[in-house]
């Protein structure tokens, strides 16, 4: 009687079960996949959290627009130039009224410019913010030497990198047009949409912060008190 023993094939070997090494490789792959997936959860949720906070930003902007109209005067020589200026300079708006509900690190910046020469016609941009460090301060800077024309990216001049923060608003000081900064890579800041620039950009930023403190921006045309 002759028996034929089939030659062992790879399939037959696999059917016999996994070795420890194979199992560890599988677990390792699973661990890598899970860690990649889990890394995305907090990032995504932080963005969701930020969007929820933005609803507070809108409320702050509405308050800020009302207070700016109450405090700013059309007769102020400060508005002689038709470019956006920080209305908080010179206590034109009292410091206490620039805070939201008297809270440190939460408030707004009012930027104003005369929209039509010799008329009581002003453009008002209210930028609400929440500082990462409540004891810190908000800064308004006009950065010269950026690329001009209709741009979707801003070339950051040397020494100004820290002012271009993700989530911040890049504002044309001459027209009041603005776009949110979606990414910063080296000396380039990407914008959420195209923006016309005339060689300079106005930024609202927080020192030593990774992300922009800007919550929301409200733009309006208004008359000021005579």
């Amino acid at each position: 009687m002759r028996y034929r023993t089939p030659a062992p094939s790879n399939a037959a070997q696999r059917a016999g079960g996994f070795s420890l090494v194979e199992m560890l490789i599988a677990i390792g792959i699973l661990a890598v996949a899970l860690s990649m997936a889990s890394a995305m959860f907090p990032m995504g949720m932080r963005d969701v959290m930020r969007s929820y906070q933005n609803s507070l930003g809108t409320l702050i902007c509405q308050n800020g627009a009302g207070l700016a109209r109450l405090h700013l005067s059309a007769a102020d020589a400060y508005w002689a130039e038709a470019t956006l200026k920080d209305a908080g300079v010179g206590a034109r708006i009292p410091a206490s009224d620039l805070k939201y509900a008297g809270q440190d690190g939460l408030g707004y910046v009012a930027l104003c410019r005369r929209a039509t020469a010799d008329e009581n016609d002003f453009q008002l941009l209210v930028v609400s913010y929440r500082l990462a460090d409540p004891s810190g301060s908000i800064s308004v800077s006009t950065v010269p030497g950026v690329n001009s024309g209709t741009v979707s990216e801003i070339t950051i001049p040397g020494g100004h990198e820290a002012k271009f923060q993700i989530g911040g608003a890049a504002i044309n000081p001459a027209t009041g047009e603005y776009a949110r900064i979606t990414a910063v890579s080296g000396s380039t800041a990407m914008l959420e949409h195209e923006l016309s620039l005339g060689g300079s950009v106005l930024l609202v930023h927080e020192a030593d912060a990774g992300r922009s403190p800007v919550l929301a921006v409200l733009a309006t045309r208004t008359a000021l008190k005579p």
Binding site: T5, P8, L20, A31, M49, G66, A101
Partner: protein, 265 residues
């Protein structure tokens, strides 16, 4: 008996047949550690979701209140009056208004904001209420109209008459001026009559302030202004209040909000 073909090595079947118990325990242990780590991350994510929802709910309520106040103050009429103290705001609005709870129609109304006690069982905090009366002399059924005077008469009242009217209206705050009360959630049909006044439950620390002619905020005592002296009217009204929902995580409770509304701009 002759065997042909490849003979299996005696110890190979054990190696290829699967893992030993120890090997299996090692693999399961490693897998458990990985899953525990993943579970912790999921737990943190869930906390973020809960806090985000709490923030959204709280901000949404505040936005809704701000919208209502701004709309009312946009319709404010200086032909009537405005009264404010540390926790009450009352003023006249002009324009055609209709009763919510009855069939009254008028050419003006009186709106008031304040904080009422919540008498519902287990309730914490107060209720931010908005009461509105249609000013109409035509008697109608309902809880939201004032039958004794219409807006045209308010415009011609003396300061003394307006003061008397304000006192009467303050006394008709839900439950009376000495201790305004509402019940949310309502537990009877009678409670339901007043639910239209509720802007937000779980409110605390309502602070009303008014901006004087110099641009300074005032909140001590009270201010009453009428059509008799237009220059005395406040330039703006500011309401601050806290929303303290007990269902929110502790870190997200008792959030302070502020609504600023210019008058006459």
């Amino acid at each position: 008996m002759t065997h042909t073909g490849t003979q299996r090595q005696p110890n190979r079947p054990a190696a290829r047949g699967g893992m030993t118990l120890i090997e299996m325990l090692v693999a399961v242990g490693i897998l458990t550690l990985i899953m525990m780590g993943f579970g912790m991350i999921l737990g943190e994510t869930q906390k973020l979701v809960v806090s985000s929802q709490a923030t959204m709910q709280s901000n949404s309520t505040a936005q809704s209140i701000a919208h209502t106040i701004r709309t009312d103050l946009r319709n404010l009429s200086r032909a009537g009056f405005l009264y404010a103290d540390a926790d009450t705001l009352m003023f006249t609005t002009a324009g055609t208004v209709f009763s919510i709870t009855g069939g009254a129609k008028g050419t003006g109304s009186v709106i008031s904001y304040g904080l009422a006690n919540n008498e519902a069982a287990g309730a914490s905090g107060g209720i931010l209420y908005r009461q509105g009366w249609v000013l109409s002399v035509a008697p109608k059924d309902g809880e939201d109209h004032w039958n004794t005077v219409d807006f045209a008469q308010v415009q011609t009242q003396s300061e003394g008459q307006t003061g008397t009217l304000i006192t009467s209206l303050l006394n008709y705050a839900p439950g009376g001026v000495s201790g305004p009360t509402l019940r949310v959630p309502p537990s009877s049909a009678g409670d339901l009559n007043n639910t239209w006044q509720v802007l937000a439950p779980n409110c605390t620390n309502l602070q009303v302030a008014w901006m004087d002619a110099s641009g300074a905020w005032q909140n001590s005592g009270s201010v009453t202004v009428t059509h008799h002296d237009q220059r005395a009217w406040p330039r703006a009204i500011r309401l601050r209040f806290n929303i303290d929902d007990p269902q929110m995580p502790e870190a997200f409770r008792d959030v302070e909000y502020e609504v600023v509304c210019p008058i006459g701009n």
